[in-house]
Symmetry: none
Subunit: 222 residues, 4 copies
DNA sequence: AATGAATGAGGGTTCATTCAT
DNA sequence: CATGAATGAACCCTCATTCAT
């Protein structure tokens, strides 16, 4: 409405381009020129929307992860059994495996490099902190939400009472992230529907109170 | 014998320095100058031992992972029960978590960037191939060894017969690597002895034939 | 017209600077920094106009030799006697001796080194091929044009019929280039107007049919 | 006698190796390491025999040209006709064309680069002067000897009296060097026996007193 | 806002030369 | 004399960032 002719969403276009290029080449090997070319704008224009390369990356990350929190919070609040919730949670992740893989590579790389730096570099530490904080938040939210589901399961008697929800959440998140990482690394492991089912079965087996689980098994539901 | 004092292990010193600097700054942000400084040698000296930066990295990786295969193969061949073997395997990994963490960041970064690419970069593809192959081998060995243990467990009736050893191995490796990654990223999750025990318990619960597991649980062994 | 003042010809300035510096120091001893300094631009700016050092050199060569072909072709086509044509051709060369001397050193050096090689060097063979091809073309054009004049002379009865135009052209070009080389090397030989006249006289004596030449000699024209 | 076992001529071996490598790669692209490898000695050993790279090159040049002077002086002193002498001189050069080609490339390159330098370079100018002087001497000797033959020819009435021996010598040397250069550059010109004969014929035609030459032509000797 | 030429610090790598053994 | 590891100056080239238009 306010954008009449060619006033396309430049910022969006740049972010989209950045997503492609960062994913294709990694952070270090991505040049601002390549992003500009992919976005169809001039190199200098990037700096009208983003302070610098790191800022571009940070905002890209924010863009990609935006919306995840709300979605998952909604799932946590749904009125279904905890085991089903957990399965849905996992299904959701794997349904978006591609997206997570895309961003995952960047997270890994970025963390593996700049974010860990203590000294060095002419990059202003401020920006790094921004990204580090975003990472931290993403993971802690992820654990918190998973922990909530586990707690629900324990409270409803579905999961074994002696389970520590925090520990369980950490481990569950670790499995899922491990799979994502293996997918990113494309390391030979195959995570098709078969593996996915096995994963869910295994997780529930580990979490479930025996009777219930056994019943489910008997009913052939797992 | 005649070379005790003066014959310093320059190559070793450089590798050690490279390990530190790579770990601290990541691959891209590590300068050969920094490595040289850390090693206490001149920049040019690095090239007496390593063809280039990539070669230094590759050989560092080889150095760090050397010995792992034999050690684990030995474990696989031991004459103990599969569940105990699996626990030992995991214990081994976590006992060396620090070492894996050190190299892990580099693996992640490297894979997340250069290794995924076929085009780009002026780096000779040969070296990337070398490293890629080493990665591939490391992971596939890791899965193979884990799978062997799972198979042993199934054959001895300890683990449920319907388990696909390959799938199980992939998932187990994924959990473990997920934890390593989380450790690398230092993302807020705590993987102390408590979590470790829970992990082992959960894994065995997911793998075990019910009766046996239940017995063990009854005996309070898990 | 609207760009009179500010629109400096950066590329031209760099080429001019490169000409000076290459000529003064030779290819190998010329640093991009020196060229940049001479041109009054930053080091990095060179790479906005030329892909690399070789490309700069190649384009410099192309720039210098541009226009020669057309000019000489025109001479060949003129409606004057072959012996006069030949003399004009030589006069032209020597009138531009300075320019040929400037570029000649580079040609010699380049050919004497990199261009002879197929292996070695990290330089992309493509560029060398480019330059090698330009050299080849320059020399073959040179011979072709000279050969055409000789043929004209033979056909008109001015030159001896038993002369092989190709051989004669090769030799004539060799003399001229030999003189250029000696000038480049500044090796003590003096090629003033006196020598030039002697050269032309000698050449025509060697080429001419006896009767005519003798007549000319008798008339004191040579 | 004084060299019993392995005391081979190290210096000679190095020079031979240097000749090969310099010829193959040119001065700039030749590394001391490559020379050492070719010679089968350690890099450091080169510096026991030669002060530095330039010195090695200079001494190589001296070695190669040694003996030429005496040989040609002998020819000049022989008791044969001047035209035959000239032909022999040329024959000699072309009989050794390969050797001259080998050294020629280096002369050209060296002159084209280091020797012309006025400022710059950390190389001590002293060495350059040495080489420059050697070049100068080689060419001036070459002209002097040729001039002597021309003078003999004039005095004996074989060559035209009005010829300036110095100019003629300069031109003759220029032709010959031109051909050498073209051979070095391998520029498409073919200088087989046919061309060689034509060259000699042409030269004598240009030099010769008419009657004599005509007689020779009539006798079919040219 | 958009552009893209200009910048220049910095990185990886080479190699002539030295010197301790 | 022989060796070859060590050195470090220097080079080519990249690319994030700026700024005049």
């Amino acid at each position: 409405m306010c954008s009449v002719k060619g006033t396309i969403d430049r910022r969006g276009a740049i972010l989209a381009a950045a997503g492609k290029v960062f994913h294709a080449h990694g952070y270090a090997a991505t040049t601002m020129e390549a992003v500009a070319a992919e976005a169809g704008v001039a190199k200098g224009s990037l700096y009208n929307y983003f302070r610098n390369k790191q800022d571009l990356f940070t905002q890209l990350f924010a863009e990609i992860t935006a919306g995840d929190e709300a979605e998952t919070d909604q799932l946590v609040a749904e009125d279904i059994l905890a085991d089903e919730k957990l399965q849905k949670l996992i299904d959701n992740v794997f349904a978006q495996l591609e997206r997570y893989t895309a961003i995952g590579g960047l997270v890994l790389e970025f963390w593996a490099t700049a974010a860990r730096q203590t000294s060095a570099s002419s990059v202003e530490p401020q920006h790094q902190g921004e990204l580090a904080e975003m990472f931290e938040q993403m993971f802690s939210r992820w654990r918190r939400q998973t922990g909530a589901i586990v707690t629900q399961g324990i409270e409803s008697g579905l999961f074994r009472a002696e389970i520590d929800p925090e520990v369980a959440a950490s481990l569950i998140v670790a499995v899922v992230d491990g799979i994502i990482v293996h997918s990113i690394l494309d390391v030979g492991a195959d995570f098709g529907p078969h593996s996915l089912a096995a994963l869910k079965r295994g997780l529930l087996a580990a979490l479930s109170a025996w009777a219930d689980t056994k019943d489910q098994l008997d009913r052939g539901e797992l």
